[in-house]
């Protein structure tokens, strides 16, 4: 059984830790436990934030009595449940009830200014880069950097390339990019140092939507190459 270590994260959050590395099996455990805790959510649990090999629990400290620090009470609650839940996360067949989401991408050209360089640096043709990127079975390890920004695991190792030496001042919203062994999508125009290979017309983050992010931690993702006409259709369909 792999029981995560419990660490305080200040005086209002706890961090469960399975390790310190990017590892799909550790990340699977994080999401399975996050889903299980979400079901039995106590009223003092404000937020449950999965990352690569850690899971943070943010507490409403005002919801606890004055007798003992909230972190101690929360840790006791957690330990009483962790033994049973950790058995569950140890089962390799246990996967979070993940949704599967297709992301249409127009690769190369103005939408993917780094596609040719990625092809050159990985010793492939641009078409082969696209074929390998769309063949990947990805899942959302965590969201961060910006609201709705997904860090996706499952990139073909041939496509793993270091970030740009000089980050771009402006990366357009919807840009699909490669950074190290990961791939991600910029929800909003922002500076960015990942290599941009394409763009999706889907809106990754919309504060008027519930939930606001298109993707949730643990979701499975596939990229689908689309042409101009399909890109335009998707762009029209989005709210």
């Amino acid at each position: 059984m792999t029981t995560p270590a419990i660490e305080p994260l200040g005086d209002a959050a706890l961090l469960l830790r399975w390790g310190e590395r990017i590892d799909p099996d550790l990340n699977r455990r994080v999401h399975v436990l996050a889903a299980a805790l979400d079901v039995i959510r106590p009223p003092w649990l404000l937020d449950l934030v999965p990352a690569y090999a850690t899971l943070a629990l943010y507490l409403d400290t005002a919801a606890f009595g004055p007798a003992e620090p909230p972190l101690a009470a929360a840790e006791r609650w957690l330990r009483a449940r962790l033994a049973t839940l950790a058995d569950h996360t140890d089962d390799p067949a246990a996967t979070p009830s993940a949704r599967s989401i297709e992301i249409p991408v127009r690769y190369g050209g103005e939408d993917g200014p780094d596609l040719d360089a990625v092809a050159r640096d990985s010793g492939l043709s641009p078409d082969e880069v696209v074929a390998r990127h769309t063949a990947g079975d990805y899942h959302v390890a965590l969201l961060g950097f910006a609201p709705g920004f997904p860090y996706l695991l499952g990139l073909d190792p041939m496509l793993a390339l270091p970030r740009l030496a000089t980050p771009r001042q402006r990366v357009p919203a919807g840009s699909v990019a490669i950074g190290g062994a990961q791939t991600g999508i910029y929800p909003r125009e922002s500076p960015g140092g990942w290599r941009i290979i394409g763009r999706t017309p889907l809106v990754l983050f919309d504060p008027l939507r519930d939930p606001p992010a298109l993707l949730a931690p643990g979701d499975r993702v596939r990229f689908v190459a689309v042409d101009d006409a399909a890109f335009a259709t998707h762009a029209r369909e989005r709210r």
Partner: protein, 321 residues
């Protein structure tokens, strides 16, 4: 009925007590960085503590309104005038219709809060009226105020008066927001150690001009992490002290990212976060180690002081009308 922005000031934004429950989507708290002063400002005008108000940074806006207003100013000590009348902080002020409210420089402290009876009528997005400047949503169209903005107000925003009414009593800002002393913040241990271990506490820190709503950047002798391995991104909290490679610590504030990959060498206790939000470039900050019990006691004491203030203000406001 609305509040007209004639000049916006340096960085004025609509905030409440922030967003919760969306960090898993990468959405941070935002909200008033000095939540203590923001709560007191709202209590002073008879609002619920979470009512949308203005957070003013270093230099304030000029505002016009055409109905009587009950307002309160808390947080930083700010030059404030209604036409020619000087307005003091930390008490309810009744202003007649038709004047101009001029908020000038913050003399001490960094962030002043302007609460108005009935609150600012901006829509709540994702459970909060707070402006998320980094994400570009919430508050006034996801941005700081600009000249020409009109902020909707409640129909009854204050009692009718002919001249400003300024009560002879006020709420003491200290001990929570004591701007006459160097700031002292209590630090809970982080996962990562510095080398030497007490380096964070062995010096006094200067607040860097590069600080913003995301983080307080500290200038001092560069610190070294005891373990220089690359780290993967992990969740962080408001108050987390990160150590980037240049050795100058960053204390995360309300608008910080939700995950980070730098070593975390400590976490500021929640009760000290309001005072941190009042630090301006060049100010001195002392850090002291603390433990979970003391941090919890400090948080409980602060909550108890707020509860007493709520009671005292409610009695005074009731006696006045």
């Amino acid at each position: 009925m609305s509040l007209q922005v004639l000049a916006p000031g340096l960085l004025t934004s609509v905030q409440d007590l922030g967003r919760t429950g969306l960090r898993r989507y990468g959405v941070g708290t935002a909200g008033a960085l000095d939540g203590y002063s923001a709560r007191v400002a709202n209590l002073l005008v008879g609002n619920a503590p979470d009512t949308p108000l203005l957070e003013i940074t270093l230099s304030g806006p000029r505002l016009r309104f055409d109905r009587p207003l009950r307002i309160a100013l808390t947080g930083a000590q700010i030059d404030a005038r209604h036409d020619d009348v000087e307005l003091p902080g930390w008490r309810p002020l009744d202003l007649p219709a038709g004047g101009e409210l001029r908020l000038g420089a913050c003399r001490r402290g960094c962030r002043a809060y302007l609460a108005i009876h009935g609150g600012l009528g901006v829509p709540r997005l994702l459970g909060s009226a707070s402006t998320d400047l980094r994400g570009g949503f919430g508050g006034m169209r996801g941005r700081m105020l600009a000249a020409g903005d009109l902020l909707p107000l409640a129909r009854e925003a204050g009692p009718a008066v002919d001249t400003p009414r300024i009560p002879p009593w006020w709420i003491a800002a200290a001990p929570d927001i004591d701007l006459y002393r160097d700031a002292l913040a209590h630090v809970l241990p982080g996962r990562d150690a510095t080398e030497p271990a007490d380096a964070l506490f062995a010096t006094s820190w200067k607040v860097s001009a590069a600080s913003n709503r995301q983080g307080l950047r500290l200038d001092g002798p560069p610190l070294q992490s005891a373990d220089r391995r690359e780290r993967v991104s992990e969740p962080v909290a408001v108050g987390t002290i990160q150590l980037p490679p240049d050795g100058q610590p960053i204390i995360l504030l309300g608008e910080a990212q939700t995950v980070g990959g730098y070593p975390r060498i400590g976490h500021v206790a929640s009760a000290d976060l309001p005072r941190l939000a009042q630090l301006r470039p060049g100010d001195t900050l002392h850090l002291r180690p603390t433990d979970a019990d003391s941090a919890w006691r400090a948080a409980c004491d602060q909550r108890a002081r707020l509860a007493r203030i709520a009671l005292a203000v409610a009695q005074r406001l009731a006696a006045r009308t």
